[in-house]
Amino acid sequence: MSHHMTEVKDIHYVYPDGHKAINGISFRIHHGESVGIIGANGAGKSTLLMLLMGVLLPSQGEVRVGDILVTKETLPFIRQRMGMVFQNPDDQLFMTTVYDDVAFGPRNYKLAENEVEKRVQKALEMVGILHLKDRAPFKLSGGEKRAAAIASVLSMQPDILLMDEPSSALDPKSRRRLINLLKKFEHTKIITSHDLDMVYDLCERTIVIKNGEIAADGPTPEILRNAGLLDACGLEMPLALQGCPVCGERKVRKLTG
């Protein structure tokens, strides 16, 4: 399954103002893996996602999706393989109806209109908002917008899903619905988030980033239980792993079973 592998080799990125956002990051993500990328504000998570998608190109090092190097020439191919859900769904939804928004990607790849319709239908069904297809995106609730943004990416049938803070600005129920939805996907998932409880629920592997470098990379339960590491990286143990505030009992054993 090497064609679905994502590989980052010693990448560096310096913003035009001289700010060094990424300083030599390397990792390899295999097909079907679900990886959480966590780190404090300004650690370089969003820049890393942009580099993976080829929105930014590294000043040094390389990014490979499958066997293909991410360059300006290979971008159309890369972007068909990888779908990115933005932090703010309003940035992603710009057409007049949900249907048109979800159809935007497939239409750009010049698919026949009946194929576009099938894909839109399937994507909307997957996220459970088929009934909203004729609504204007700006009139939807936060959770519905997020679902529409995910559908707009799913309709392109990517192998790899990248998500920037998918649970931000969602109410608890919508957040839980999103987590359950993402659990069902068989795609390779790369998720950046401050919601460590969600990362704990969704990702079997976690990469911690600090000042543009990898501070740790390993199985999620191991990393999220390492209070010292998290503290040094400006993070905190997820609530699910912290002791009960009333009786002080640790729930770790119960949860990890």
Partner: protein, 268 residues
């Protein structure tokens, strides 16, 4: 200004209206575009002293607004931004035009006639353009322009400008809210902070526009706005175009109100 967010929602009203399903909405976008262009050309081709001859052209918007089941008041509101411009152009006509005419013993400058004519032309043309967008939608209109072989770049410019107006307004409303919450009791924005606020607005809008553009690129956007399969021209579409063209031509050649008046008074 405090109704900025309402205005923003209003801005999308035209998009909402364009999603309706009526006789007019179902017409081919190209036909609607061509009919409107012919209408605009004919209306502006009238002489500056012509008022009565323009009246039959009111028939077009009135009929469309009824057939397309559009609300009148919000559309009229949207015409208001054009009003100051037209008033500015026309208001001095009565002063500068030295020709006069008499009505019931009252001598008036012919400038008043040109002023009314300019206002009427503005009313008709702006309304026709609004009706076109409200019954067709920006995306279909762009597709129609592409069918007329208008270069991709111009059509895209038009579409993105239309899209980014709402982005700009959203940013304005956020800045305005943040400002007014920390400056209670102030009317408007203090002139001293206009500079930083406008600079901030431009940077934020750039940023936002950049993100929207990135989202488009990530979904395979390469400069062509694909709006799905296009309808085929039907006989009914062509009949619509031919019917209105005939009416506009007749109304341009013959002064219908004058003819009707003459018939009624039995002069002919």
């Amino acid at each position: 200004m405090s109704n900025m967010i309402n205005t923003m929602f209003d801005l999308r009203l035209l998009d909402d209206l364009a999603c309706k399903d009526t006789v007019v909405h179902r017409l081919h976008p190209l036909v609607k575009l061509l009919t409107t262009v012919i209408y605009l050309i004919v209306v502006v081709s009238f002489d500056k002293y012509e008022v009565a001859g323009l009246l039959p052209f009111l028939f077009f918007p009135v009929l469309i607004i009824n057939l397309a089941e559009l609300p009148l008041v919000p559309l009229v509101k949207r015409m208001l931004p054009a009003a100051p411009l037209v008033l500015g152009i026309g208001i001095l006509n009565p002063v500068f035009d030295h020709q006069v005419f008499a009505v019931g013993g009252l001598t008036l400058s012919m400038g008043w006639i040109t002023f009314i004519s300019v206002c009427l032309k503005c009313l008709l043309t702006v309304f026709a353009a609004l009706l076109l967008i409200a019954t067709t939608g920006m995306n279909n209109l762009a597709a129609a322009l592409r069918m007329l072989r208008i270069p991709k770049l111009f059509v895209l410019q038009l579409l993105l400008t239309y899209r980014y107006i709402s982005v700009l307004l959203e940013e304005v409303s956020l800045i305005w809210r943040a400002y007014s919450l920390r400056a209670p009791g102030q009317k408007g924005i203090n002139w001293k902070v206009w500079g930083p606020l406008i600079g901030q607005l431009i940077l934020r809008t750039f940023d936002r526009a950049q993100r929207v553009y990135q989202a488009m690129c990530l979904r395979g956007f390469t400069g062509e706005y694909n709006t799905g399969s296009q309808k085929r021209l039907t006989l009914w579409d062509l009949a619509y175009l031919a019917g209105w063209s005939l009416f506009f031509t007749l109304a341009r050649i013959y002064n219908i109100p004058e003819l009707t008046g003459s018939l009624l008074t039995g002069v002919i």
